[in-house]
């Protein structure tokens, strides 16, 4: 079992580097395509390429060192200590011993929707945030399961990867957005001015650039989603490995699944960080290509498969949530 999380750690280290490089390259290509389409001249495109590369580079450095503070601030998370939330701190301390990671900073988000996330660049600079709703609605064992899940993300270095993913994917989307607007207002006029020379090539590049601008954010987003679901299953399994109590996490998942509240502070840029998908829409319950999290029933049933128990259907989950 130890080998599994070491493997996950090194996979996350490697993937973080690959992702950073891939996004920088993607941004470079995008920058070049935009510059070439606008000026019709490879030399002219160098400028926009450099700008895009610098933006990508600064984004990755910035997200690595300050992304966690940004995410916490954006979620309205307030730090807590032993006196303000004794039981929460106790549970976190227990699970740090089990996961053999340093004590993270603990935050509360004042929101009645039960949810949680972990962020940071490594276990020494990690933060765990939970909502007040989670603290109120879950009992001690269920809370252990959720904290175990979050600390598994910390230990497996998922937090570093998801931090980078969030900011990188955001930056690609930002640039593509910017470009789509720019071509409408500025680029269109320019291409008319220059239709005497290289117009055909320029038009082709325009199309390429637009396609890139549309495809890049989608591609980047799909990468994010594909990896995110696997790491949720793994974190659930790791949590059970730490707590030795599958029932606690199962009940927590069931309670959260049947909860109708919507987490107001979550948005498209932070949703993949959370314990369960905070944005509840009809597609949330399906395992569509765009879901950042697997359906909760699937997560419960994967846990039950680990312990050789009978899988549950939706009605059983509702019953499980009402048990306490």
């Amino acid at each position: 079992m130890a080998a599994t999380f070491y493997a996950q750690q090194s996979a996350n280290r490697r993937n973080s580097v690959i992702l950073a490089l891939a996004v920088v390259v993607l941004l470079g290509i995008l920058g070049f395509a935009i510059g070439y389409a606008l000026t019709g001249d490879p030399v002219g495109a160098v400028g926009t390429t450099i700008v895009a590369l610098v933006v990508g580079f600064l984004m990755s450095i910035g997200s690595y060192f300050a992304g966690d503070k940004l995410v916490l601030a954006a979620s309205g998370a307030k730090p807590v200590d032993e006196t303000s939330a004794p039981q929460l701190m106790n549970v976190v301390r227990e699970m740090t011993i089990a996961a053999n990671v340093p004590m993270p900073k603990v935050y509360l988000i004042d929101d009645t929707a039960p949810n949680a996330f972990a962020t940071g660049r490594d276990p020494k600079h990690a933060s765990v945030a939970i909502t007040t709703g989670l603290l109120e609605k879950l009992d001690r064992e269920e809370l252990q399961g959720v904290i175990g899940h979050e600390l598994a993300h910390v230990r497996n270095l998922d937090i570093r990867f998801t931090l980078l993913v969030g900011v990188m994917v955001g930056s690609v989307a930002l640039l593509a957005d910017f470009f789509l607007r720019f071509t409408f207002w500025g680029g269109g006029r320019r291409s008319r001015d220059r239709d005497s020379g290289g117009g055909g090539l320029q038009a082709v590049l325009f199309v390429v650039a637009i396609v890139l601008a549309v495809v890049a954010p989608i591609a980047a987003r799909l990468v994010q989603l594909a990896v995110s679901r696997q790491r949720e299953y793994l974190a659930d399994a790791s949590s059970v490995e730490l707590t030795r109590n599958p029932a606690g996490l199962e009940r927590a998942l069931a309670k959260i699944a049947t909860d109708k509240e919507v987490l107001e502070v979550a948005n498209r840029a932070t949703q993949h960080l959370y314990f369960t998908n905070p944005i509840k829409k009809f597609e949330e319950r399906s395992n569509s290509m765009f879901a950042t999290h697997p359906a909760i029933v699937d997560r419960i049933n994967r846990l039950r498969a680990l312990t050789g128990e009978r899988p549950l259907d939706a009605a059983d989950v509702a019953a499980l949530a009402d048990v306490t």
Partner: protein, 187 residues
């Protein structure tokens, strides 16, 4: 020439033995550190118990036996601290089970359940107990690693020579041994 070969062989051998020795010392230190971590929490539990006993004594007129059991088990656990890990583990397990029955009895007293002081002590003892059990898992993992280290070839040859002896596990309670075998190799 032959002299040189002998020197090289000796140096290689020395480096090899030093490597084994340092590796074993590192593993043994991890075992000691893990044990020290458990000791801290056990000590904390021993300190908390008299407070709990005092807090509930006034309420529990008819169940004095539960309290004397806890006090006795605590005294045994404190004295077992000097008798090695195996004896200590047994005494601590005994204490854990008497504490459980005390908490079960507390459930029958609405006044006690509403008492803030008792609630805080109960939470402190619960977290300490959980910390003990998680530290024990960690300790046992380091012991397994260390014992494997001194019992496998080629380390076996040198372990005895340098005085590395086998360590005891801090045994879990029987029920805790009944843990599902979690396979993380999914997906």
């Amino acid at each position: 020439m032959e002299f040189l070969v002998v020197i090289v062989v000796l140096v290689v051998l020395a480096v090899f033995v030093i490597g084994i020795y340092n590796g074993l010392v590192g593993r043994r230190n991890r075992v000691d550190e893990a044990l020290a971590q458990i000791e801290v929490q056990l000590k904390r539990r021993h300190d908390l118990i008299p407070n709990l006993v005092n807090a509930v004594k006034g309420y529990m007129g008819f169940e004095q036996k539960v309290l004397t059991d806890v006090t006795q088990a605590r005294a045994n656990a404190v004295s077992a601290g000097a008798q090695g890990v195996a004896a200590q583990a047994q005494a601590e397990n005994m204490l854990t089970s008497t504490l459980r029955s005390l908490f079960a009895v507390v459930e029958n007293y609405p006044d006690l359940k509403a008492n803030q002081n008792v609630l805080e002590l109960q939470e402190s003892l619960t977290t300490t107990e959980n910390q003990i059990s998680f530290s024990r898992q960690h300790y046992n993992a380091t012991v397994l690693d260390y014992n494997n280290g001194i019992q496998t070839i080629p380390n076996l040859v040198f372990a005895g020579m340098f005085g590395f002896t086998k360590r005891d596990f801090f045994d879990a309670e029987p029920e805790a041994a009944n843990v599902p075998n979690v396979d993380l190799s999914l997906s």
